[in-house]
């Protein structure tokens, strides 16, 4: 099988060895689960419970009427102690339901397996996915049932499972593929059924040969599913890049994958779909990689949604003394946190990355030496250096002309720049300014 890859990209150090051989272990359930009412892109949920209510595991405790939204569920059984703000990885406080755990793990009666799952219709399946609160688990947290509802005039030809896990350090998807390949294939087949796609791909980078093998075994006999081996390069798993590599199609600028007949699902999301459809399980736990030289015992853990990050860290031996940065997500696209107090693990938490003063440097910003490296690595072929200098001068119109809006914020340009220019950050700023201006013009 030939190795497939995309244009641009970088080869950062992968640092996956600390956790890639470690099987997923269940984390201790939290004493108090903090379930944010907004763990997805889209409308936040309204609480369906009140302070003092007894709730059971898997019970829906928040929902929204908005289409682009996903309900949230109790990840423990116990008593609602308060409904108040908690911190979110994005830095803004969000409303959350605090549940004191009674440690009984009593399942709610709504959690019922669907014995006839193989005979369910696409619409029934989609409803199950929505009710289970499934969102993109690679970090984007876009509600999955919305993704599974492309416009009627757009036929989906391919469903792609993103198992590239190109972010350095993270191994959650890798372990998921190794330990639960059948679930992934089942989730993929269900997604293909929902959107009536004739063909499925499971894309994995070639630095995970064991996962490739496991999935090849799992798809044996499935004629319309192919395991595609990709060259190991960041950001191989970026949605648009993955589509181009596997199908040769390009998502039009500003458009969605459905416009070219594609649908991309993260490997973890596939498992969640399979669990919801077969076992009736809502999304109340996920695999999280806790890693980096700032944590004493790096691990992959199956963590209940709502578990405070601090408790998870404690189960990994705690932080090291020289900790300098805590990141939710991976090192290229993750979000640095000012602290871990009142910060729960959510549906989108793929990793808790702890870096020390060895990795965290504060670099002086130098003038651009026009080395062109940012242009070479940019996977969407825009001009990071020109956008950067436009932003420096406050020229957001010019930044837009250089296609700032097409940036996928992969971070490659900032990573490679020898002048240590924070290009990605500047481009993000430009996107914000341009969007604000467009909104004002309306």
């Amino acid at each position: 099988m030939s190795l497939k890859t995309f244009k641009g990209g970088v080869h950062p150090g992968y640092h996956k060895s600390a956790t890639e051989q470690k099987p997923v272990v269940p984390a201790k359930p939290p004493a108090v689960a903090i379930i944010p009412l907004s763990q997805h892109i889209g409308a936040p949920c309204e609480p369906l419970v009140a302070v003092g209510d007894e709730v059971k595991m898997g019970q829906k405790i928040g929902d929204s009427k908005g289409f682009v939204s996903a309900p949230v569920h109790a990840s423990v059984s116990g008593k609602v102690t308060k409904i108040a703000k908690c911190n979110s990885a994005l830095g803004r406080p969000v409303d959350a339901v605090f549940i004191e755990n009674d440690y009984q793990d009593t399942w709610h009666e709504s959690v019922q397996p669907h014995p006839d799952w193989e005979n369910l219709t696409a619409d029934e399946l989609k409803k199950i996915v929505r009710e289970a609160g499934i969102v993109g688990m690679g970090g984007a947290t876009f509600p999955t049932h919305v993704k599974l509802s492309p416009p009627a005039d757009q036929k989906i030809d391919y469903v792609l499972v993103n198992g590239a896990e190109c972010e350095p350090y993270l191994t959650a998807d890798h372990r998921a593929m190794l330990e639960r390949p059948e679930d992934i294939v089942c989730g993929l087949k269900l997604a293909m059924k929902i959107v009536a796609a004739p063909k499925g791909f499971i894309a994995i980078e070639d630095n995970k040969p064991d996962a490739i093998e496991a999935l090849q075994k799992a798809v044996a006999g499935e004629e319309n599913i192919e395991v595609a081996v990709l060259h190991t390069k960041y950001p191989q798993g970026a949605e648009k890049q993955l589509i181009k590599v596997l199908t040769g199609r390009e998502v039009p600028s500003g458009g969605l994958p459905a416009a070219v007949g594609c649908l991309v699902q993260n490997a973890g999301t596939c498992i969640a779909i399979a669990n919801a459809v077969r076992k009736g399980l809502p999304l109340i736990e996920r695999i999280v990689t806790i890693t980096g030289s700032g944590i004493k015992e790096p691990q992959n853990m199956l963590v209940r949604v709502g578990t405070p990050v601090a408790e998870v860290v404690e189960q990994c031996g705690g932080f090291t003394a020289n900790l300098r940065k805590v990141i939710i997500g991976g090192p290229m696209m993750g979000l640095a946190q000012p602290g871990v107090a009142d910060l729960p693990v959510t549906k989108g938490t793929s990793g808790i990355l702890c870096l020390t003063d060895k990795e965290v440097t504060i670099d002086e910003i130098h003038p651009c030496i026009r080395c062109g490296k940012c242009v070479d690595v940019c996977p969407v072929s825009i001009m990071p250096l020109f956008i950067g200098s436009s932003v420096e001068q406050g020229l957001y119109d010019r930044a837009e002309k250089y296609n700032a809006l097409d940036c996928i914020e992969c971070g490659c340009c900032s990573y490679i720049c020898p002048a240590k220019r924070p290009l990605t950050q500047w481009i993000r700023m430009a996107k914000g300014e341009i969007a604000a201006k467009k909104a004002a013009a309306k």
Binding site: S253, V326, I362, H366, K373, S381, E409, S414, I416
Partner: protein, 303 residues
């Protein structure tokens, strides 16, 4: 512990490369050419290179009020490259004037590193060339060190082997194609230069040399590639990051333009050598070239 946490925008890891490391790589790449110059021309060559480099570094350190004289290494690169364009035994003051001019007029007048339009070393060289033409064309035969003409200005052909290893008269770094190729291979391996500029540059020189210098002759084309400053220019001067295009297509056009201009000067101009002016001229066009050759972005919809 928590108040020590750093909150910054992603990405959270950076490649180890810095301007200093890039410039150091360029200096390493220049080393074979420096060595060849010293082997062929002896102590005077070494002194010339040292004086140029020191003068360039000092000038920059003074302008930037930098206590560390090496700084980011870019001034040293300019100094070495300037030295390699000089004849083997120039007066010391010529070296100093050239270096000071390169760093001040060529670089800091425009706002310092990254902002200069023209290759600083070539600005220095151009100034010396028009001011002290005699000193600048005082060629010596290598090893024997007797006065002679550069192969470009003479009628006798020195032989390709000599041209390739560098045992021919000429500027310090212009002589040995082998040494330059070794250095260029290093830069290529390190990812600091791409093939686009040097290859189109050399291709244009080869084609025009083969066709236009006294009828069709491939060996004449090869001669034009190996003789004079083409190799040095193609691998170390036209590829200067600051003053060459950043777009892939722009680099092709730029290299081609450098080659064509070089040959126009060589074949029809007043000077025997045209590399300096060809590159300077193309430098001036870089902003234009960049903007005309923006790559097609992912998902660009035809309008």
């Amino acid at each position: 512990m928590e108040n020590k946490l750093i909150v910054s925008s992603s990405p959270h890891i950076k490649s180890p490369e810095s301007i200093k490391s890039v410039m150091s790589d360029v200096l390493v790449a220049l080393f074979p050419a420096v060595l060849a110059a010293v082997i062929f021309f002896g102590l005077p060559a070494l002194i010339t290179i040292l004086v140029c480099t020191l003068a360039a570094m000092l000038t920059e350190a003074i302008i930037l009020r930098n206590k560390n004289i090496f700084g980011d290494g870019s001034a040293a690169v300019t100094g070495v490259i300037l030295a390699l364009t000089l004849p083997p035994n120039p007066p010391w003051w010529l070296c100093v004037v050239g270096s000071v001019a390169a760093i001040t007029i060529g670089k800091h007048v425009f706002g310092g590193i990254g902002n200069n339009i023209f290759n600083p070393a070539l600005v220095g060289r151009a100034l010396l060339l028009v001011s002290w033409a005699g000193h600048m064309t005082n060629w010596l035969t290598p090893v024997e060190l007797t006065a002679t003409a550069t192969p470009l200005a003479s009628s006798s052909h020195p032989g390709f082997f000599n041209l390739f290893v560098g045992a021919v008269p000429g500027s310090l770094g212009e002589t040995s194609a082998l040494a330059l190729l070794l250095g260029a291979a290093w830069l290529f391996y390190k990812g600091h230069i791409s093939w686009r500029i040097p290859c189109t540059f050399l291709a244009a020189v080869f084609v025009m040399g083969s066709l236009l210098d006294g009828g069709f002759s491939l060996s004449q084309g090869l001669f034009h590639v190996l003789a004079g400053g083409v190799m040095l220019g193609a691998f170390f001067m036209a590829t200067d990051m600051v003053t060459s295009p950043v777009t892939p297509r722009g680099q092709l056009i730029f290299g081609l333009g450098c080659g064509v201009m070089t040959m126009l000067v060589r074949l029809y101009g007043a000077y025997p050598e045209g590399v300096t002016f060809a590159i300077l001229l193309m430098n001036a066009l870089v902003p234009l070239i960049d903007n005309m050759t923006l790559p097609r972005k992912y998902g660009e919809v035809a309008k």
